[in-house]
Structure formats: structure tokens, C-alpha cells
Subunit: 215 residues, 2 copies
DNA sequence: AAGGTAAACTGACGGCATGACAGGACAAGT
DNA sequence: ACTTGTCCTGTCATGCCGTCAGTTTACCTT
């Protein structure tokens, strides 16, 4: 579609403009990683980028608008998460490997983008449709894929008919997202990273296949 | 301990003072339910409470400080969640009922306090220890209880030794919290409330006992 | 009831973020 | 060098933040 980068007042941005715009986004990202969302101010981001607040407002309506921009970028990258599920075999021994890979990929992706994902999560929970949509875009990739896998197992009679594939897939994906977001939280329960992964994988396996993995 | 309510500058608050303080908290709570966290301003809360910003700052250091107050209150109430797990029988048919009750209680509690829990979640994810502690207080009640249940099943040989009780309990609780926080999100996957609950209960059952529920 | 004291509240102020605008700096082509 | 369109910044009005000095209110003592 319209791949044109535009300023707030409708001008098309040239090379130099795009560069500063990008720099502002980078600084914002940095800022989000090191300061509470509520305290991220336009003036700080602008200063960090070596420019003025007025410039910031040329490219973004406000902080939220800029965060949405970052989130969109991330969402594009996030659709590659589908590869973790699509075309996997959920029967027998390969099933557990699939579960492990899914958990691993998910945790890695979340850790890499945790600062933005925090804000996206908040915005979505607050009912902001724009953030909500982005969150869906990321999670849908995995959820739909998982849903299909469960449906297939069901049609083969390998999974109980009472299970709702979408609800189960959604629950699992939501669990992974939350576990990823609060990875540090587990430490205070005396749970080490290394312990967490296999248990999440076990739960994913149990949820999808309904059975314990065959070792 | 010191049950004294104090102002920021150290005075002990009297009857009238406590009343306005309480009113401010109520208005803040209302504000959090209807506006994005980032946009909640002291002046708006004060206006809604029919007082001035200066009064607000007599009782709370800032918006965050007041939210912590609200969260503490909620956390006290939240420890009753333990009752949903403690003393439950996780063998045979009663196990599924236990899982159902846990899911139901959790979702209800979360929905009732969603506005504050959103902020607590954000604060915790951002690494703020105060919010983190409150989140733990609520989740620990359930997690520790679940952990014990799993340990017990393990000692009886009913659950695989490779399972880490704490990691499993933590994963399940985190899943419930996330599912509760994004209840609306499931609708766009075509999942109805009524479908979600039994599937969550099934996952809890699978996670704790390692087996499908006996109907 | 008068007077005293601590509590409760407010008006006002300096400081800072926001957001709009107009004008100057810059790059690229002629 | 000149023109043109893009890009950036100085400046300003507005509004919120957070503090303080000072006023009003409630309560207690005598």
C-alpha cells in the first residue's frame, strides 16, 4: 500500500527526514527500555536524538503514536513466529520437540522486544483498538496455526471432542506471552530459566495432544 | 503495626483527612477504569474529588504512590484466593472441580480489579519492586498452594519426578492471570467466555495431575 | 464559651512538557 | 548563483506539576 513516509502535516519525507525520524524511533525504543512508560517525555527523546521537541512533533502526533510505529515494525518481524508451529508434527516424539521449539522461540522473541510489548500489552488491556490489533497480529500467527494443529488431531480422533481448539490454543499462547513477560518473576519462586522452559513445553504438549510426551 | 495513616509531611490524619484521602483513592480508581494510565493527571483526580491538587499531594507523593495504595488494598483482598486451592483434593473426580473453581475465582477477581491490575502488571514488568511485590503477594497465595499440591502428588508417585512443582504452578498461575487480563482478546479468536473456562480448567488439571480429568 | 493547637485545605508561583507556527538552514537541480 | 522544496529550530501560549506560605476548620482544654 502507501509505503510513503509522511509528516504529520502531510508532507512526504525525504532522505534526511526519514533518517531523523528513524533516529527518534530508536531513541524512543531505548528510552522505553530504561524508563517507566509513564515518564517517557517527548523532550527527553528529542534531546537524546540531538534534536528538538518540535521536530518530534513533525513526525509523530505524540509519544503513543510513535510507540505504535515501533510496535508495527515489531509485529512484522513477529509474524515469523508462525514458522515455529506451521508444518510441525504433533504426534509422537516430534511433538515434544515442536513444543520445545515453540516455547524457546516465543521466550526469545519476547525478551528481545520486552519494552515495546509491555506498552502494547497495556494499551490492549486498556481497550485501545490500535494496540489491540497489533497484539493480535503477533499472537494470531501462532494461535491460528496451533488451532489448526489441534483441529487436525481432533479429526483423527486423537484429541477429545470437548476441547475447543481456539480456546485451547489461545490459552497456551497467552500463557507463553505472560510467562515471557514476567520471566524474572519466576526467580522469586525459586524457578530457574532452565526449569521453566521444559515445564512450559510440557504444558504446551499436554494442551495440544492431551497426553504426556513420549520420551 | 503502625496502622496510623500519615500525610506526606508526617502528620497523623484525622477523621476528615482520612475521608478526603479515601475519596481521592476512589476517584483515582474510577479514573483508572475510564482513562489510559498515561493520561491520568493529578488535577483531574483532585477535581473529581471536589478538592485541589495541593490536597492530593498532602496524602500521596504522586499518582504512582496513590496507585500503590489502591493495589495494597486489593492485595489484601486477593489473599483470599488461597481458599480456592488450599485443602483441595487433586485426585479423581474432585480434582476437576477444584480446577474449575480455581479458574472461576481467578477470572472473577481479575475482572473486578482489572484497572489496577493492569497498572500493577505494567509496573512489575518494568522492574518496579514495589509493584512487583504486590503482584507476588497476590499470585504467591495461589502459586505456593498449588506447588504444595503438586509436590504431594509427586511424593505419592502420581506425578512425574521430572516436573518442577514451582515452575508448573507458576506457569499455570501466570496463564490464568494473563487469560483474565485479556478476556476480551479471546473473543476475536471466536472464543466465548463459556468455552474459555472449561479449557483453562482442563489445562490446570493437566498441569497439576498430568492426566486427563475423569468425567 | 473562649482560647489554643493541630489538622485540613487553598491560592499562587516557578518550572517544565506540550503543541503550533513562521522563518531560517540545507540539499539538489538548473 | 538562483530557485525550489525539504528539513529543522526558536519562540510562544497553554496547561499540568509539585511546593509553600498562609488561611480556615475541627477539636480539645479549661
Amino acid at each position: 500500500m502507501t509505503g510513503q513516509v509522511r509528516t504529520v502535516d502531510g508532507r512526504v519525507a525525504g532522505r534526511r527526514g526519514q533518517a531523523t525520524r528513524q533516529k527518534l524511533l530508536e531513541c524512543l525504543s531505548e528510552m522505553l527500555s530504561t524508563h517507566p512508560y509513564r515518564d517517557v517525555k517527548v523532550i527527553d527523546v528529542a534531546r537524546m536524538a540531538g534534536t528538538s521537541p518540535a521536530t518530534f512533533y513533525q513526525y509523530f502526533p505524540d509519544v503513543e503514536g510513535a510507540v505504535l510505529e515501533l510496535a508495527e515494525e515489531m509485529a512484522k518481524e513477529g509474524t515469523t513466529l508462525t514458522d515455529l508451529v506451521a508444518g510441525r508434527n504433533w504426534v509422537g516424539k516430534p511433538a515434544y520437540a515442536a513444543a520445545e521449539d515453540l516455547v524457546d522461540g516465543f521466550l526469545t522473541f519476547w525478551r528481545k522486544n520486552d519494552a515495546i510489548l509491555r506498552v502494547v500489552d497495556l494499551g490492549a488491556a486498556e481497550g485501545d483498538k490500535r494496540f489491540y490489533k497489533i497484539r493480535m497480529k503477533i499472537l494470531n500467527a501462532v494461535t491460528n496455526s496451533l488451532t489448526d494443529s489441534i483441529k487436525e488431531l481432533q479429526s483423527k480422533g486423537k484429541v477429545d471432542k470437548t476441547v475447543s481448539p481456539a480456546a485451547m490454543a489461545g490459552s497456551l499462547v497467552v500463557m507463553l506471552a505472560a510467562a515471557a513477560a514476567h520471566q524474572k518473576g519466576f526467580q522469586s519462586w525459586g524457578v530457574k530459566q532452565a526449569e521453566l522452559k521444559p515445564n512450559l513445553a510440557l504444558l504446551v504438549h499436554l494442551g495440544v495432544t492431551g497426553k504426556k510426551p513420549t520420551k
